[in-house]
Amino acid sequence: MGVRRVTAAKTATDSRLMSGADILVKSLVENGVERIFAYPGGTSMPMHQALTRYADRIRTILPRHEQGGCFAAQGYARSTGKPGVCMATSGPGATNLVTALADAKLDSIPIVAITGQVTRMAIGTDAFQETPIVEVCRGITKHHYLVTDIRDLPRILKEAFHIATTGRQGPVLVDLPKDVQLEQCIPNWDAPMDLPGYRAEPPRAKPEQIRQVAAAIKLAKRPVLYAGGGVISSGASAALRELVNKTNIPVTLTLMGLGAVPTEDRHCLDMLGMHGSVYSNWAVRDCDLLIAVGVRFDDRVTGKVSAFARHAKIVHIDIDPSEINKNKEAHIPIVSDVKFALEELNKVVEKNDEVDAWLEQCRVWKRDNPFRYDRNFDGILPQHAIDVLSDLTRNRDTIISVGVGQHQMWSAQFYKFHRPRTWLCSSGLGTMGFGLPAAMGAQSAYPNSLVIDIDGDGSFQMNIQELATCYCEKLPVKVMLLNNQHLGMVVQWEDRFFQKNRAHTYLGPITHAEARGKGQGQYAEERYPDFVTIAKGYGCGSASVRARTDLAPAIEEMINYDGPYVLDVEVPYVEHVLPMIPAGQTVDDMITE
């Protein structure tokens, strides 16, 4: 296969000759890509030119910031289970992807990110818009490539999608110098993958391991299932529900696991951990068998890890061997695809009738200690807004995304999920600004679904520019903005751990009394900025609501609006997310007031 540079004198005479940019885009098509979120620049222009030639097969969506593009790709991936794809130019374009790639790594989201790079000759010379993006991203991607030979392109793209979507999923970066994009060759589409160090087959639980778990379940009087993102990503929700129904074992979910079983299922103990339910944390405290499925014993779940599930025998099923025994030692460690393990378990598991009394105990705890807020408050509490939204959307095909902070935790607590992949949440990295672009990506995959970003005014402003994308690309995302004028979660920690001293947690002008922590009452009264005007400036529908009685009609109006919409909900800033187990402490240190 011949390699030739594109020069003015030579033009392709062999019709099989293709440019690197065209090979790349055709590879995307071959790998099933239907959407790409791509922001052009100097070194990625040839690829954008190629994208116009494949416009009938790949929709290119132009975000307003590369980070927005990568989060949109995540929203697409999280809601569909298919890999999300984004593209940026070299230098600042590439570094703008970094946060979102790190986010995808921590939450195991399959992403293929393509970056333009300066020409091979210029690499290492501190050229204009040159950054060593592969170096920058080594620790925050599952894998990464700098393409130096055009003939490697079809193989590398095949490998990139394979790595991103198999095993423990994650982001893969492909950095493509501009001269390789412009070069031409006759591509070898059949070049095999060359991954001698990558296990292609998902690990599978051995029959004796499954029998061990079944035996442990048979013996346990107080078992609890602790299920997380691995259940969602392996498509194991149905298997998990079957297991729960067969055995009556109560199940608690991580932030990443919400939707794996319906919130309203009688076995569901909701989220556990720092801001998890009282009853889930009590159940884990008292259980004699903890079956951890597709989870990683994150510090926000365990608190003080030595005290977590102290009396329990621990079964840990995960696809990633390095998660086993990383934070908490497992008595029955099983490296396996979660879906396979649960389906095998369902074939042999037997119910222990003693579990019924335990489930009943958990349900009593749940009845007596629900997530709560002041239902008589004269105004709109953020929890109430989410409660109402949950009720008003319960019979619709709805996908929820969130930013990071109090509104995120309240959404996890009060929104009632029915299906997996309807909850888009930056869980591991906790990236503010995730909500709007993630919703945008999901909306592009499901144009007829109701996609709602429940956001805070801090998070929202970190990627507010994506309202332009929503409007211009006809993505009718709805934003329910819980606007308290503050960085609520940090305020909460100030209140609890820093004697209420306000340290740069007010988002209005520094001349306002609130900025000095001298605000009066529950609301920050002098509102800033004017989100309704901003939203309208972007072409979106928008309204503001403060009175409790106006809330439901305002939400209805948002839902029924034909196009993107921002509902600015004025809420007080003095609310705390409860319960709360302070970092590094135990269930016995739980704050409920």
Binding site: V134, E135, R138, G139, K142, H143, H144, L146, I163, L195, P196, G197, Y198, D320, P321, S322, N325, K326
Partner: protein, 173 residues
């Protein structure tokens, strides 16, 4: 506890940076790292000496195996293996002074004098870490002016790939 990990990695740009970056970012303590091509030019062999308890070791091995370009990782500490470290050092040895003494010591340690200057000699010596350390201690009083080591490399003996407890370090001198 001291462990010797032997890893086969793809011989591609960036693999060393990737591995050393991972080890550093996860806070693992590496005593020694040596890398070079193998009989197969597509693969390189990396040898790590890691100090830590079993749990740390398990994590280091699993995190290494997770890197896509790492083909295989073995903890050979519990097997019968040969370990070597190659060192070059320059030591003060004025003619007529301590030079004879140094020559004797080099002979006893089965090293070689590979260069002779007016006031110092360059010595090449290989062997296990303990031997190299002992030799350095012997040379210190004469005045070491320069020292360089390759880091440890190791290989399991033929037919000895079954763990042989307690014999992990025999006859490697």
């Amino acid at each position: 506890m001291r462990h010797v990990l032997s890893a086969l990695v793809q011989n591609v740009p960036g693999v060393l940076a990737h591995i050393s970056g991972m080890l550093a970012s996860r806070g693992y303590n590496i005593d020694s790292l040596a890398v070079g091509e193998t009989e197969n030019p597509q693969l390189s062999r990396m040898t790590f000496v890691v100090v830590g308890d079993d749990r740390v070791l398990e994590q280091v091995r699993k995190q290494l195996e997770k890197i896509v370009t790492v083909v295989q990782v073995d903890d050979i500490s519990s097997q019968n293996y040969v370990e070597r470290d190659l060192m070059l050092l320059k030591v003060k040895a004025p003619a007529g002074g301590s030079r004879t003494e140094i020559r004797e010591l080099v002979e006893i340690f089965r090293g070689r004098i590979v260069d002779v200057g007016a006031d110092e000699v360059m010595i090449e010596i290989s062997g296990r870490e303990t031997k190299i350390e002992a030799f350095i201690d012997r040379m210190r009083p004469y005045g070491i002016s320069e020292l360089v080591r390759t880091g440890r490399i190791a290989m399991v003996r033929s037919g000895a790939s079954i763990p042989a407890p307690g014999t992990g370090s025999v006859s490697a001198q």
